[in-house]
């Protein structure tokens, strides 16, 4: 894969998030976006006059508002400025970060605002996702992003009891994290004594994928301000640096129906490329936080293997040993992740925002104890696409 080192360093200097919830009926779309933009500007100590360019993104299938960037000019502040629109499904937020980072790194703009949003309550999420499928064939068959594929695979490989416990352990850990994050949409205060009950009684969606395993449908927005190194050091006392990012697509046909393993996923392919070109031999050792786009507890468990290039049952053990907890060896989603909060066009940029907050050390109640220097954020979307973003506290790489 062709790849060139960045032209100049790019720092994250401002982060804004709305409160995420199932219904933000108190605000319309531009008003909701404005909350995140205002938060990011205040966080950076900037005004819209300081922003050179705005990158805006969501997935139009959900709200059925096409070119929402026009309506949202009022909320994004893009009036009179350069502006771009990104819409790459679930990866939208990750692609927003890639786009904004590239615009600054290239030297085109010094300060770029990226904003992702979704108001899933205003449309139909599963209907929208199903509409992305090939109209001549797959639309008749696809049920949105719901699939039992990861459950079938984990059960086949590790047995029913162990696989189910691992998925529910992952789910409870994510909820415990969400309870620490005041912006999280769903925080149920689940506890370990509910394991058996949840496994037995949560309504099934598809096969072993139950409602409790699956991500939420949320409303909300997230904005990040990116600046060139010189500007970033002027603006922020603790800029977080974007070290690298990678995007991997595959065919438009889904490969979930095969039960044929091992296969190379875009996750593992992207991870290998990214770590390889950055000289990272042991990602588990290297990263201090990983904000994963985990659409369900089953995928969350399964994808640990792909992202950290693990073998055998190492990923299951990470969950069983609770290494993925906020105070564990490899904290995953201290924010509560996507199962707690999923405003789809914002979801992947939230991963980057949350990883950056961890590196700044100001995540609040869900701050990882100890020093956080190296962050990883993932995005997932399309027909199994991946975006990975690496964040750093220093520029000494």
């Amino acid at each position: 894969m062709g790849y060139k080192k960045r032209n100049r360093h790019v720092g994250i200097v401002g982060i804004g998030e709305t409160k995420f919830s199932s219904h933000r009926e108190d605000v319309n779309q531009p008003e909701m976006i404005h909350e995140a933009v205002r938060g990011a500007l205040d966080d950076a100590g900037l005004t819209m006059d300081d922003i050179d360019c705005v990158v805006h993104g969501n997935m139009e299938l959900f709200e059925m508002v096409h070119q929402p960037d026009m309506w949202h000019t009022l909320g994004t502040g893009a009036y009179g400025k350069s502006a771009f629109r990104v819409t790459t499904g679930g990866t939208t937020g990750g692609t927003l970060v890639c786009g904004a980072d590239n615009l600054v790194a290239s030297g085109m703009y010094d300060v770029v605002l990226a904003v992702g949003f979704e108001k899933l309550q205003e449309g139909h999420t599963t209907g929208g996702i199903t509409n992305m499928a090939d109209p001549l064939w797959a639309r008749r068959l696809q049920s949105g992003a719901l699939t039992a594929q990861a459950a079938v695979k984990l059960i086949a490989e590790f047995g029913e009891a162990r696989a189910r416990r691992a998925a529910m352990t992952y789910r409870i850990i994510m909820d415990m994290h969400a309870c620490k994050n005041p912006n999280a949409h769903r925080a149920f205060h689940l506890d370990w004594d509910q394991m058996e009950d949840l496994m037995a009684t949560s309504p099934p969606l598809i096969g072993d994928l139950r409602l409790i395993h699956m991500c939420s449908q949320s409303d909300g927005a997230c904005a990040i301000i990116f600046a060139s190194e010189k500007k970033a050091r002027e603006i922020s006392g603790k800029p977080v640096w974007v070290r690298d990012h990678i995007t991997v697509h595959r065919e438009e046909t889904l490969n979930l129906h095969n039960n044929y393993y091992p296969i190379e996923t875009t996750h593992s392919f992207a991870a290998k490329q990214l770590y390889g070109r950055n000289g990272i031999d042991n990602p588990l050792e290297y990263f201090d936080v990983f904000e994963m786009y985990d659409p369900s507890a089953w995928w969350g468990v399964d994808w640990l293997r792909d992202f950290f290039l693990l073998e055998g049952d190492e990923h299951i053990k990470m969950v069983e040993n609770r290494d993925i907890m906020i105070d564990g060896k490899m904290p995953i989603n201290p924010s509560g992740g996507v199962i707690a909060t999923n405003p789809i066009g914002a979801t992947a940029i939230i991963r980057v925002a949350e990883a950056a907050k961890q590196i700044r050390g100001d995540a609040g109640d869900h701050q990882i104890p100890g020093n956080v220097e190296h962050g990883l954020a993932s995005s997932f979307g399309g027909t199994m696409w991946t975006v990975l973003t690496m964040l750093e506290k220093e520029t000494n790489w």
Binding site: W137, L146, V152, Y260
Partner: protein
């Protein structure tokens, strides 16, 4: 001051100016007289989109005069009494151009006594819409050939000249090889079940807008002649959801799934619906 049906008749006249609708008075040029028994007389002049109201003793020169007692008038205004019934019962009299009198309903908005106003409608914060759009999608020659095959109860796959991979439904290009697929192979129609998506969730079918009946099974079938992950995506007979087993290849470990065969629709049009579903073939 007396009230009937919660209405003070004075208020009805005092609010006429504020209830006047110039658009309703368009083309009306007339003088109306109101003689409310033991209450008073009013003379209403309407013309050129304007109105004037005078309390008077002299109703001469009116085009139409209504003579009615206070209670009946209040009842009609409140919508409790029918004006025609009041006329029939001789409780109300209309002198002059009767048809003109009927026009007054258009000239004024309805009188609502103080305290009986309906709450103003809530500000619209949510707009529910169902959008229907007719769409037509071109198949292109490759997908068209495949769909044509279904009409003849034939399942075709296209073959990559590089890696030999079979794709069905077919695609023009083998994406990993980045070369054009160039030959057709007939596969199946029977095969082995691999993945079963046992769907409990009642998701919408975007092609029809209808909610799918649950439970249903979306399946991956490894049709005869195919290998590895060259599966065919379709539906399982919903009556057989609990009677099938999934096949799986996990490295060296191979589990064979239930044998399945397609059930063809009687009326085939060249679409995914030409196969109703797959059913057990054992």
């Amino acid at each position: 001051m007396s009230e009937y049906y919660g209405i003070d008749v004075d208020d009805v006249f005092n609010t006429m100016a504020s209830r006047f609708r110039p658009e309703g008075a368009e083309g009306v040029d007339a003088v109306f007289g109101y003689d409310i028994t033991e209450k008073g007389k009013w003379k209403l002049s309407v013309g050129q989109g304007r109105m004037a109201l005078d309390i008077t003793e002299d109703l001469s020169g009116c085009d139409v005069v209504v003579r009615v007692d206070e209670q009946t008038f209040a009842g009609i205004i409140a919508g409790k009494l029918d004006a025609m019934a009041a006329l029939s019962a001789n409780k109300m009299k209309v002198e002059g151009d009767f048809n003109l009198f009927a026009v007054t309903g258009k000239i004024f908005t309805k009188y609502v006594p103080p305290g009986q106003e309906v709450e103003p409608e809530q500000e619209l914060v949510m707009l529910k819409r169902t959008i229907s759009v007719n769409q037509r999608f071109a198949t292109g020659p490759i997908m068209g050939t495949f769909l044509q095959g279904l009409k003849e109860k034939t399942i075709l796959a296209i073959k990559c000249p590089g890696c030999g991979r079979l794709q069905s439904p077919p695609r023009e290009i083998c994406a990993p090889c980045r070369i054009r697929n160039d030959s057709w192979v007939e596969i199946g129609p029977a095969g082995e079940m691999r993945m079963l998506e046992y769907c409990y969730y009642a998701s919408p079918d975007p092609l029809t807008g209808e909610t799918r009946e649950t439970p249903y099974g979306a399946i991956g079938v490894l049709l005869d002649g195919c290998k590895d992950n060259e599966v065919f995506w379709h539906l399982l007979n919903p009556q057989q959801l609990n009677d099938v087993r999934m096949g799986m290849v996990m490295g060296d470990k191979v589990v064979h799934g239930t044998r399945l065969r397609p059930v063809w629709s009687a009326n085939r049009t060249g679409s995914i619906n030409d196969i109703k579903y797959f059913e057990i073939d054992e």
